[in-house]
């Protein structure tokens, strides 16, 4: 294999790998902009991945089979939003500390997905998954075509959502409210913005995105479900939000960086370069720590009230 095709392969693999991180990261951006740090993302992704996997698995030989993937995605998104609302109940209404509550949600989601999976499916089974949809014409462009225009529809959707989320966050009244309750909830409250309601909405949207990210993993990327399918991607997505400075465009850059690291690791293994497998798998996780250490100064642009519950009766 020559160097050119080696690099091309990394890029072709890297783009779809970034999608799960990108979708979850976009949702987490909205969460954190509203002042809530949702570490339960990992658990929501596990539930999303499992629920999305169910319809294609059970409906494979029924007349509903053609729409099974869509049903799965909708289930994942709905469950994600519900879990986001559960998290909102705990951290917004009950004002629980967000870090530890997020770990609780992660265990709950991960455990529920694993329990139901072992009971109803058992072993690892594949599904047909979402077929790729080459864009006519564009996918034939040399080099760029296979990198950008020869993927499944969710990949295109994820990248289209980047400008959409940017627009929502920075150009719509709701986006302004989200940023306001994350930056200075007391001021927002005095202007009549319902802080708790906006945070509930943000968490529901963030949860739905995490559910969609999970659905992408089981239906499009792995085309199967396993207990450890998520493998820390939810936590990486949370870290990406810091790296991307709470901006959808930055999140996209971060997601691509991580997915390229992952596809580089896979390509090294495929190319048979002698490098311990375990160290290759460590690479993305170590990268997270390095990245978090490097972005310290970016803290300044983050939502000021991130992680702090709002209590309007509290004395200042």
């Amino acid at each position: 294999m020559n160097a050119g095709s080696f690099i091309l392969n990394i890029l072709i693999l890297g783009v779809p790998f970034s999608v799960a991180l990108l979708l979850a990261g976009l949702g987490e951006t909205i969460n954190q902009r509203s002042g809530v740090f949702n570490l339960g993302c990992e658990g929501i992704m596990a539930m999303g991945a499992f629920l999305a996997f169910l319809p294609p698995y059970f409906l494979a030989k029924t007349p509903l089979a053609p729409s099974a993937n869509l049903i799965g995605i909708l289930l994942a998104v709905a469950a994600g939003a519900l879990l986001g609302l559960l998290f909102a109940l705990v951290v917004v209404t009950f004002r629980a500390p967000q870090g530890i509550a997020g770990i609780g949600l992660q265990m709950l989601g991960w455990g529920t997905a694993g329990t139901l999976f072992r009971r109803y499916v058992g072993g690892v089974t594949g599904v047909t998954g979402i077929p790729s949809l080459p864009i006519p014409g564009l996918s034939r462009i040399p080099i760029l075509g296979p990198i950008l225009f020869n993927h499944n529809p969710l990949v295109y959707l994820a990248f289209l959502l980047v400008p959409v989320f940017w627009y929502i966050l920075f150009k719509t009244p709701w986006g302004l409210k989200v940023r306001a309750v994350g930056t200075y909830p007391r001021a927002a409250d005095s202007l009549g913005i319902p802080v708790a309601r906006v945070r509930y909405q943000a968490l529901a949207l963030g949860g739905a995105m995490a559910g969609l990210a999970g659905a992408y993993l089981s239906l499009a990327q792995a085309k199967m479900f396993a207990d450890d399918l998520i493998a820390g991607r939810g936590f990486i997505a949370v870290a990406l939000v810091y790296f991307g400075r709470w901006n959808p465009v930055g999140i996209m850059g971060g997601a691509l960086l991580f997915s390229l690291a992952q596809s580089l690791q896979l390509s090294i293994q495929v190319a048979g370069i002698d490098f311990p497998y375990e160290f290759a798998v460590m690479l993305p996780y170590a990268l997270v720590i390095v990245v978090l250490a490097l972005v310290r100064k970016a803290r300044m642009v983050g939502p000021a009230e991130l992680g702090k519950p709002f209590d309007r009766e509290q004395r200042v």
Binding site: A96, G111, G114, V281, V288, A293
Partner: protein
């Protein structure tokens, strides 16, 4: 609200939290088609039916206690250590390597050495996250989660490579495990026919040590101060960053000891799957035990019961053992929610007011600082500031809050 009412109120909060956690569990039990009552019955009583079951609970409680003690130290110092799983693995590697490398040492020397090696292994992993937080502001939750994944890979790398039992290569089975540690490093079994081992004493002694450290020494006081209110602690001259690193280091060391004890007492060689989620269960144990050794000891027994019971439901009620994760997650969410209501004078006051209205009695006096105590902010002297005589004398104006404008 009088004292009895407060006790009733707190009991009601605990009851509500318990019901909420069990309710979430019941939903999942129902979703897998299990008989909810039978499933809970199996989890909570089946392990207690014979001596083996009871000792197995204690065997699980030992690493849980150790890990939870470490997490309590970190928590009390204001850091959240999610990395016990990885720290435990590093402890296992260090302690089994030490025991294997020095087979000729006498027992009274080798066991402490192996345990200390385990502590050092875990401490390195914990301190790494502490330094990253203190020096570079890296969120310790994220860094410890990532260090867990890295440790897990490093663990399999060593067990498949440098530390693998040479026998495995000869027989060709290739199970990733180390050689058996020398007999001199084994912790004694306390009851014949069971796996209960002398690690129980280590856990009990360290529980007392943690209590003395945190509540009876000045270093412990400074750690707790840094955790309770970092800004105030810094004004008082406490070097908060230093205590963050110290807390994470100690926390990691305890997880490392848990790993060492598990190897020396139960498995007697480093194998895969030793940690088995103890690192995560330890977080729940620590919270459930109120972040205090006196609570952690019974809590670890309870969760030992839960872990063993969940294994048994797989056999007896056809519910996968992952169920224990669901219960743990639900318990965490219930505990952190309930903590906001326990001993909360404002909620108690509002409740007392509502009860008085229902029973047609006059409303009790509002507590100072509550919105009910300040009907009109222009009133002077301000009852909200009853506890601040200086402000009262100066007649300082206060911000108008939304509630005040009704």
């Amino acid at each position: 609200m009088n004292k009895t009412m407060k006790a009733v109120y707190n009991a009601a909060v605990v009851l509500a939290a318990t019901l909420a956690a069990m309710g979430i569990g019941a939903l999942v039990f129902a979703a897998v088609g299990a008989d909810v009552v039978k499933a809970y019955g199996v989890i909570l009583t089946e392990p207690l039916k014979d001596l083996i079951g009871i000792t197995e609970i204690a065997v699980r409680a030992v690493p849980l206690t150790l890990i939870a003690l470490g997490i309590a130290i970190a928590f009390r110092s204001g850091t959240l250590n999610i990395g016990a799983e990885g720290q435990m693995l590093m402890g296992i590697l260090a302690s089994s390597a030490a025991a294997i490398a020095l087979p000729d040492l006498p027992k009274p020397l080798l066991i402490p050495l192996a345990v200390l090696a385990g502590a050092a292994g875990g401490a390195v992993w914990g301190a790494a996250a502490g330094i990253l937080k203190a020096r570079l502001g890296v969120n310790e939750i994220l860094s410890t989660v990532m260090l867990n994944y890295i440790a897990a890979q490093f663990y399999t790398f060593l067990l498949r490579g440098p530390m693998m039992d040479p026998e495995e290569l000869v027989t060709g089975s290739g199970t990733p495990q180390s050689v058996r540690i020398p007999r001199a490093a084994w912790l004694d079994r306390l009851l014949p026919g069971t796996r209960l081992h002398a690690g129980v004493y280590i856990a009990l002694v360290l529980a007392v040590v943690v209590f003395i450290l945190l509540w009876r020494t000045s270093a412990g006081f400074r750690m707790r101060a840094a955790g309770a209110e970092a800004k105030a602690a810094r004004y008082a001259g406490i070097r908060v960053e230093r205590y963050v690193v110290a807390a994470m280091l100690l926390s990691g060391a305890f997880a490392g000891i848990a790993g060492a004890v598990e190897i020396l007492g139960v498995h007697r060689r480093a194998i895969e799957g030793v940690s088995g989620g103890y690192g995560f269960t330890g977080i729940v144990v620590s919270l459930f035990g109120g972040l205090h050794p006196a609570g952690i000891l019974p809590a670890s027994l309870f969760f030992g019961l839960l872990l063993l019971g969940a294994d048994m439901t797989q056999r007896l009620a056809d519910v996968p053992a992952n169920m224990v994760l669901v219960l743990q997650g639900a318990i965490i969410l219930a505990i952190v929610s309930a903590r906001q209501f326990m001993n909360n004078p404002y909620v108690q006051d509002r409740l007392a007011r509502r009860l008085a209205r229902i029973r047609g009695r006059p409303a009790p006096n509002p507590i100072p600082g509550s919105p009910e105590a300040c009907p009109d902010p222009s009133d002077s002297p301000d009852p909200c500031l009853a506890d601040e005589p200086a402000a009262l004398a100066g007649g300082g104006s206060r911000d108008v809050r939304p509630e005040d404008q009704r």
